[in-house]
């Protein structure tokens, strides 16, 4: 008996490694549905959907005010008392925890200098895109349609265009570098035969567990637990995104251009659409029943959202991660995404201040889908458009499959 008891932890670890922590990751449709569900809970708890960039606004304002004495960008509450900022910290910590648990954390320095430039340029483009689209891939798109606001649809169109342009850039870089991919006849690559054991794994695990626990304890002791719950929901988003490799950049990069990961982009787009379907249904219930204000998170909709989506879409492909993707990949240890995050945080607050004060006329009107179409009509509109989109994706996949079939 004692023997089987001693082996239970190993049995459990093996079970986890084959299921939740498997290298294959979770399916994209499951990731999308889980994100939709978390978004409903988040909306009910925080009175706003899960978004990301206003947390960056908070951090940017703090950096400029506390380090450089620049206060003209606006005042900011503590990063631990700002719903979006706490959600962002949660996302980062959740992704870190998932990556460490799955043995996927590693400090990864970019292959080339160009990657640092790409990180910075991508972060800057994304920040500018967010100012114009009034949100990132969450606040401007996923959570926007979920909140029944028209502006999410407009950014979606821009993201498709931006992803397409990004794919052209990626192809250009790959062509250029492929010329340098020369064959060197060397006997062995020495890394191959001697797997190192991760000596620092227990330490990493301790940090990944202790950080959220400490933060939650501190929040609970100050704010009565409200922000601790937001932290946990953010962590749930981080875990789901890391495990299902829920990458909006891939979803929009390869879908129209049919690039290297076309099949994955189809599965990701279907996951996103399912998440919006689930989230919008739940949010409609919350809004209809009066748990949240019907106009909550309804934002200006106009041409600026399309243009913002285009810039954001291009930026996320160049940087190698969208808003959530940057936080997730940064938590996995990708230095390129640290650069992208730093560039986004440093540029978002000034760009937003500048454009909103100099050209407020670029923004459109706030349009709640259900106010013109009614509750049933508004939801039916969302269901119909997303169903058509999913059918179109399946058709693209089918057409590509049959073409490949003939070619072989």
């Amino acid at each position: 008996m004692a023997r089987s008891e001693a082996r239970f932890p190993e049995h459990l670890a093996g079970l986890l490694r084959r299921s939740l922590l498997s290298r294959r990751g979770w399916p994209e449709w499951l990731g999308g549905i889980l994100l939709g569900l978390i978004n409903i809970l988040f909306f009910a708890w925080a009175q706003k959907p899960f978004t990301i960039y206003s947390g960056f606004l908070n951090w940017g304002r703090h950096l400029y005010a506390d380090l450089a004495g620049i206060t003209s960008l606006g005042a900011a509450v503590s990063p631990l008392a700002d719903k979006t900022s706490v959600g962002d910290i949660g996302l980062f910590l959740g992704a870190l925890l998932a990556a460490v648990a799955a043995g996927e954390f590693r400090l990864r320095t970019p292959a080339r200098l160009l990657d640092y430039v790409e990180g910075a340029m991508g972060g800057l483009l994304m920040a500018l895109g967010v100012v114009l689209a009034v949100g990132c891939n969450w606040g401007g798109f996923f959570s926007a349609i979920t909140a029944l606001s028209l502006h999410g649809y407009l950014m979606f169109l821009g993201l498709l265009a931006g992803g397409f342009l990004g794919a052209l850039y990626v192809e250009w870089r790959a062509r250029r570098e492929a010329e340098e991919l020369e064959l060197e006849v060397e006997e062995v690559v020495e890394v191959a035969e001697h797997p190192k054991r991760g000596a620092s794994a227990p330490l990493l695990a301790a940090v990944a567990l202790a950080l959220p626990a400490l933060l939650a304890w501190r929040m609970a002791s100050v704010g009565g637990g409200f922000y601790a719950v937001i932290l946990f929901m953010g962590m749930a988003v981080g875990v789901v995104i890391q495990r299902s490799r829920f990458c909006f950049a891939t979803a929009f990069r390869d879908i129209l251009r049919g690039g290297g990961e076309f099949r994955r982009s189809v599965r990701l787009q279907i996951g996103i659409a399912l998440g919006i379907l689930v989230g919008a249904t739940g949010t409609a219930v919350l809004k209809y029943m009066g748990y949240v204000d019907p106009t909550a998170y309804v934002k200006p909709a106009g041409w600026s959202n399309v243009l913002g989506g285009l810039l954001f879409g291009l930026g996320m492909v160049i940087a190698g991660g969208c808003a959530s993707g940057s936080l997730w990949r940064a938590a996995e240890g990708h230095v390129k995404l640290w650069v992208a995050l730093a560039a986004a945080v440093l540029s978002y607050a000034p760009l937003r201040h500048l454009i909103r004060s100099a050209a407020p006329w670029i923004y459109g009107e706030k349009i709640l889908l259900v106010s013109s179409l009614g509750w049933a009509g508004g939801l039916a509109f969302i269901y119909a458009t997303l169903t058509l989109w999913i059918l179109f994706l399946l058709y693209l996949d089918y057409r590509r499959g049959s073409r490949h079939g003939q070619a072989v």
Binding site: R23, R24, G25, A99, A102, G103, E104, F105, R106, R108, T109, P110, A111, R112, D115, V170, A174, E177, A178, E180, L181, E182, L183, E184, V185, E186, E187, V188, V189, V191, A192, P195, K196, R197, G198, A201, R245, C247, A249, T250, R253, D254, G259, G260, E261, R263, R264, G320, G321, R329, E332, G333, H334, K336, H404, V408
Partner: protein
């Protein structure tokens, strides 16, 4: 930067550590193009999604994935056999 080696037994080794999506998939295709039919390719990557993307992409094109193994924490080796015809 990405490196391509040939081992003594003719196996090609593509080292794309440090690269994020989509480059591991793109360079894997280019490396496969340099192999004779039935030849072996080892891809070294430290990008977690690539452990799934690279095998799926090459399978879609008819090549055989012989395995994905842990080399060290956060680094994987994907072994591919190029299709015969």
């Amino acid at each position: 930067m990405a490196k391509l080696y040939r081992k003594e037994d003719g196996t090609l080794v593509l080292d794309v550590r440090g690269y994020v999506c989509p480059y591991p998939v793109i360079y894997t295709r280019k490396a496969l193009a340099k192999l004779p039919p039935g030849g072996l390719l080892e891809v070294l990557t430290d990008n977690p999604p690539s452990c799934e993307n690279v095998p799926r992409a090459v399978r879609d094109e008819g090549h055989e994935v012989l395995g994905v193994e842990d080399l060290e924490p956060g680094v994987w080796r994907i072994l591919v056999r190029k299709k015969a015809g």
